[in-house]
Subunit: 284 residues, 2 copies
Amino acid sequence: MPDIGQLSINAATLRKQWKLEDIVAGVAQMGIRGISPWRDQVAQAGLAPIAQRIRDAGLEVSGYCRGGMFTATERAGRAAARDDNRRAVDEALELGARCLLLVAGGLSRDRDGHVASKDIAGAREMVRDGIGELLDYARPAGMPLAIEPQHPMYAADRACVNTLAHANDLCDELAPRGGDGLGVAVDIYHVWWDPRLKAEIERAGAAERLFAYQICDWLVPTRDLLTDRGMMGDGVVDLPLVRSWMEGAGYRGLHEVEILSERWWAEDAQHVLATCIERHATRT
Amino acid sequence: MPDIGQLSINAATLRKQWKLEDIVAGVAQMGIRGISPWRDQVAQAGLAPIAQRIRDAGLEVSGYCRGGMFTATERAGRAAARDDNRRAVDEALELGARCLLLVAGGLSRDRDGHVASKDIAGAREMVRDGIGELLDYARPAGMPLAIEPQHPMYAADRACVNTLAHANDLCDELAPRGGDGLGVAVDIYHVWWDPRLKAEIERAGAAERLFAYQICDWLVPTRDLLTDRGMMGDGVVDLPLVRSWMEGAGYRGLHEVEILSERWWAEDAQHVLATCIERHATRT
């Protein structure tokens, strides 16, 4: 019987096979302890009923995906992001989530949604300001925010925070006391390549900022920038080593499997869950 | 008449349209000052005859692509890389190249060429040792080596040196006096996203280590990890800004256009060259 004590399933992993209600039921039935839903899935299921289902199933919510996307060329766009992020905080509270994950947003987009700026330093300033403003809302409400650095290949169109060092710097600037409602999410897929990974995990741990840990694997070759992430053990990341760094830095939370993959979306959902359980126990 | 004084063409940009002999002739005919050939192209053309053609055409060789690939699980594989890299140095000398570009190699491969290790820290040690050993050969011969950090999306299968900071660190360790036969190549495509880019360009410049500058653009969306690089001006990189950083740090060398792109490989070669000239003058 594999040890599944710290396993959580990010609901994007099964988004093409099952509705969120089915994912909640399926995850609970397998004895898995946690889940992490996405906002579009929650909207489809209805916030109050799905929150009730998750509670009834006894599942922890290891994180809520996601807030962020702070960048826009126009003030109205940034104001819309602010309002939407506050709603995300409210939803995360009702779901009892451990934290709200923040994906920063890439280069600024215009009102039609097109990337309309080459000013990446300016985008990074918008992100800093946006997180600071959201923190003023989320901290008194009691919802921790977790900045998730994304792989540099997403810098233009998804997130201009691309290293754990940058996320830690933002935490130092915006919540200097440490652990004070602002932290980081470490997603293996985005940060595995970074020569400073161990040091920055230790830095985040020392400040009590390790709020979430997401796992999958990096495949060789990777055939698509978005939807070719690997099941743990199928790729090249030394997952036990990174887990040891997380634990050494004090992380005791869940290990959330997030696999965006056409290959795994084409599999039977029960089989995917069984594979996650086995691989989590043996390959991470 | 656009200013093409510092333009150089990396021969990979036209590799599907023309043989290297034709690229040399075409580049010279357009009044372009420099070229950067690849080893497979040189092998096909013959080293001595193509070196003569490049001299006769009056072209500078802004860099020779490429050495490196230092990582292998077996000692025999690393010895083969060492010998091959020495041949690359000899070829670069005969071509009169400004430098030999080094692409580090990714995770170690076995004798069949498959990635066979998850030890990225170990791969980075092999790279350090490999560059150090090659430097002992190249420095007395008079051929500068330029470490080219590659985008983190290539960390597993192409190069485990993924930031200019890492390349600068290697230079500090292996050639601490600065400018001493070991430097860096700044390729926009690989490093544009890095929040430390300006600082690390300045650091390299202060140590007289800016040996090469390669330009293209990052497209949104990017549809392929390898062959969807953009023509200058078609993407999201603030090329004039990065050029100003290079020049501010003392770089006076050529601006080498390297575009690996199915879209541009499908165009008429003369049209590609004319577009490079126009975009270099107006968009970089």
